[in-house]
Symmetry: C2
Subunit: 220 residues, 2 copies
């Protein structure tokens, strides 16, 4: 029996809980691939090296999932996580900064598939404007940001400029009415409290690998 709350106060849910929901979704995808219908939190934890108490606690924010002693219905759990994360709606992305990273994200499968859709890529450098990206989008002039956000109903702004322009791009995005921003520039950008800014720090992945290298060498 699943009693699932569609409405929660996002302020009560930590970013880490949301990141774990994304991980659970990938695990559930794999269970579906291999044809498993029901799974307990213990089994889910064991298979994917997670923490079963954490799984139960994370899901409890969103209602009652699963049947005690039986477990979760895999397809129902999948559907609920998709709904919680809003992955049943199209999300339109605008990338600002058409250097290597912006261009790479333009044809990154996770950014242009299923419910996410890159609807534009802008740059202020006139030599890059009209340069077709591998994904077939033309680079447009970033002076048109405000107009493009409205015309194409942009949901998420993606900043891939150098650090020196990131704050001004963020300001322009906020001014244009974008309320969710993904920042790849290596600088903290400031935005009003009503705007959600997520900064990506790829170094975190290297630090995790560094930990394993270190422990392996020390335990030798």
């Amino acid at each position: 029996m699943t009693a699932y709350k569609r409405h929660v106060d996002p302020a009560t849910i930590s970013d880490l809980t949301i990141a774990r929901l994304s991980i659970y979704l990938r695990c559930v995808d794999r269970l579906i691939e291999v044809g498993i219908d029901t799974v307990s939190s213990q089994e889910l934890a064991r298979r994917f090296n997670l923490n079963s108490a954490q799984i139960r606690k994370d899901l409890a924010h969103f209602g009652e999932f699963g049947v005690r002693g039986v477990g979760y219905n895999v397809s129902e759990l999948h559907r609920c996580i998709v709904e919680i994360l809003g992955l049943d709606s199209e999300r339109r992305l605008l990338i600002v900064g058409a250097g290597n990273l912006g261009t790479a994200l333009c044809h990154y499968s996770g950014f242009s598939g299923e419910n996410f859709l890159v609807v534009g890529i802008l740059d202020r450098d006139s030599s890059r404007i009209s340069d077709p990206t591998p994904a077939g989008l033309l680079v447009e002039d970033s002076v048109r940001l405000g107009e493009i956000v409205k015309q194409r109903q942009v949901d998420i702004g993606v900043i891939t400029t150098p650090a020196s322009s990131a704050q001004s791009v963020c300001d322009q995005m906020v001014e244009a009415g974008i309320s969710t921003i993904l920042n790849f520039a290596p600088i903290r950008v400031r935005a009003p409290e009503t705007v959600m800014v997520k900064s990506v720090d790829l170094k975190i992945y290297l630090e995790e690998l560094s930990f394993h290298l270190t422990q392996r060498n020390r335990n030798r």
Copy 2:
């Protein structure tokens, strides 16, 4: 009083704990910037929207940190996390795949600064070979992978090829003796158990933003 264990069994530490240590390190960096010497787990949690019990639990894997009722010495905590993550040693990276993403990572500040150092970028496409990257490295032929790994003492292999070549690049890296791999290709790569492969899924960040967009719209 800090009694900190330099040797732990990495199998007992979850990837999420390590990812959180990276986050704690960034928080501690900021405390140092603003001149704070001592911090309790509660205060650390409050300032950075973390979970204080989780902080204590994560650190407990590595020994006894802080003084009950007083808190952590900030600079000591910083030093210990740096040591735990092995960020006091140089880590040499080899990027394979000199498309937009590989080139972007070549001059991404987190990948080429402090203790991480990109020592080479390879591609099998002869039209890209010798193409200088913005970071000043020349793209070299990926047939030289084995030789370059040994000569330049590569610690971490980074896969930025299309999905179709990722497994064969991974196999070549393992064959050349690389034991830690960061995979950006949108495919699961298989490696022997002794090799640590971390796959980066940038879509997780979009999913987090999608959650906030969804809840905001539903709560309107």
